[in-house]
Amino acid sequence: MTTNRGYNPNEIRQAKGMGNRIWVQFNRMLRKNPNMIVGLFILMLFSFLTIFADFLVKYDPVAIDPVDRFMPPGSVHWFGADNIGRDVYARVIYGGRVSLLVGFMVAFLVTLAGLFIGLVSGYSPKLDMIIQRVMDALMSFPTLLLALALIAMLGGSVWNVIAVITIVDTPRMVRVVRSSVLTVREQQYVEAARGIGAPTPRILFVHIAPNTMAPVIVQATYFFALAILTEASLSFLGLGIPPEDPSWGNILSLGRKHLQQAFWIAFFPGLVLTINVLAMNLVGDGLRDALDPKLSRRA
């Protein structure tokens, strides 16, 4: 570093400590990526709505009201009412709880499993042969078909859906982690750690793992979005979340039967689903540009 360049205030702040540095980076990231702000705003707004739904939504998502059946969207029912008079807005907001839970849990579990398997696979050539063939085999099944077959085995429930989507998506995360381990493990500091006799688990989890995190975090946001889409597909096919609990896929599935007389039953959950997936993709693209410049579009 040349001394006559003067001090960059950011560098001073960075030198002061980790916590500060993350905020500076985060700020810089947001300033560069207006799309990401939009995405984050949508996600925060929606999370707020679902978390505090009990106070913000005036209808019970399972309350039946025969008088209001098929009532079009308006001031009484914002998103209209369905075939047995349930408020579609309430069902969409409460359904968001299930969708966001599935998305978050899958992203979290896929990251954990993917990190662990990917680290071992990338570091040990012997295990790598076996693990990679198993991952290749798992990835040979079309994602939705494997998920459906596993559902046939386990039965449909929120936690089974989470487990199934995690199994289906993990090999894809393993591939990301493994390829980044393969480059990181050739770095000098890893060699140095090995040279001073650090045990393998320490090398893996203390030295290698933190340096593979950038692509992993980016992928995790995409898996979040993908999991929500997969959950909706499974529920739409009637094989995911049980029909009693509102979920976006369930509501859409019901709306399909009444498309002719009440398009709003299918339209609104799909719209909210699309907006959320879009927001997550925007956040993912923003993170990718900020954390992983190699992957970003060279525009």
Binding site: R133, V134, D136, A137, L138, S140, F141, P142, T143, L144, L145, L146, L148, A149, L150, I151, A152, M153, A225, L229, A232, S233, F236, L237, G238, L239, L252, G255, R256, L259, Q260, F263, A266, F267, G270, L271, L273, T274, V277, L278, N281, L282, D285, R297, R298, A299
Partner: protein, 319 residues
């Protein structure tokens, strides 16, 4: 070249073996007695122990799992995928009934995706940072986020129910019903299936072309006065096509997932819908058979993509 092909082909064997083990295990671990399904659910309460035993004997499910696995795998090689628990017809026969609908849906979807996605990507990459580029990228991000079934609803609502241009659902064969009927019935399913891949192909083509256009040899070609059209078609597109080919290979695999949804929404009698029904019915031989068929075709498709890739890029062969 041959050496590479053989080496690559041998690599598929362990994968296919593990695929078969996974498929078989899922169905073995599934709860419920297939014999009970054959005897008709509740009827098993009235069936005698001897009857149940006879059915189990006939289905071969009282043998040890290892023997069952090899019987099943052996059958797969000679095209015997077992018998449906419900219709008591052979799985291969049932699949052969559904294959045309699925293949034509997948192909028309991918056809539309390539037909529109490729030019969009080329245009966006070529006119980088203009409004054309931005419009294509907005479409690419949107096309990826819209779930197939919701897009299908909107298309049906607008074009079938309101405007009446296309039928709401159903399938017509290209061979027995003629091309006009085929196109009328497959237009909306093809768009539903194709939009996400269109977005993906446009995105890949764009970024690949942007990268190639910044290469030195493109600058050379331009500075020696070649027409822009020739620079683009002869020099840039050839180099930019490599990643696009990989993506198109992947798209075929992903299209199978898409076709499950598309076939269900449009009531197309294909393999995807058959699979969903089999899962609902717990008709295990059909589930197993279809999983093997889809996974095997995916593995072979990947093999073909890799070979084409090696053919186009000699560096791959020798690595």
């Amino acid at each position: 070249m041959w050496k590479y092909i053989i080496r690559r082909a041998i690599l598929t064997l362990p994968v296919l073996l593990i695929v078969s083990i996974i498929t078989f295990s899922i169905m073995q671990l599934a709860p419920g007695d297939p014999a009970a399904i054959v005897l008709g659910g509740d009827y098993i309460m009235y069936a005698t122990a001897q009857e149940i035993e006879d059915v189990r004997e006939a289905m071969g499910i009282n043998k040890p799992p290892i023997t069952q696995y090899f019987d099943w795998l052996g059958g797969f090689f000679v095209g015997n995928l077992g018998t449906s628990l419900f219709t008591t017809e052979s799985v291969s026969y049932l699949v052969s009934q559904k294959i045309e609908a699925t293949v034509s849906t997948v192909f028309s979807g991918i056809f539309i995706a390539i037909l529109l996605g490729l030019p969009m990507g080329v245009l966006a990459g070529w006119k980088m940072n203009t409004w054309i580029d931005r419009a294509v990228m907005v479409f690419a991000v949107l096309g990826f986020a819209i779930p197939g079934f919701w897009l299908a609803f909107n298309l049906i609502f607008l074009f079938s129910l309101k405007l009446g241009w296309f039928p709401v659902f159903g399938f017509r064969s290209l061979f027995t019903d003629g091309p006009v009927e085929f196109l009328r019935y497959s237009a909306l399913p093809a768009i539903t299936l194709g939009v996400a891949f269109m977005a993906l192909i446009a995105r890949m083509t764009r970024s690949s072309l942007v990268e190639v256009l910044s290469e030195d040899y493109i600058r050379t070609a331009r500075s020696k006065g070649l027409a822009e059209g020739i620079v683009l078609t002869r020099h840039a597109l050839r180099a930019a096509s490599m990643p696009v080919i990989t993506v198109i290979g992947l798209v075929f695999a992903a299209a199978v997932t898409g076709t499950v949804i598309t076939e269900t929404v449009f009531a197309i009698p294909g393999m995807g819908r058959m699979f969903v029904k089999a899962v609902g019915d717990r008709d295990f031989p059909i589930i197993q058979g279809l999983m093997m068929i889809f996974a095997t075709s995916y593995v072979f498709l990947n093999l073909i993509v890799d070979i084409i890739y090696a053919f186009l890029d000699p560096r791959v062969r020798y690595s």
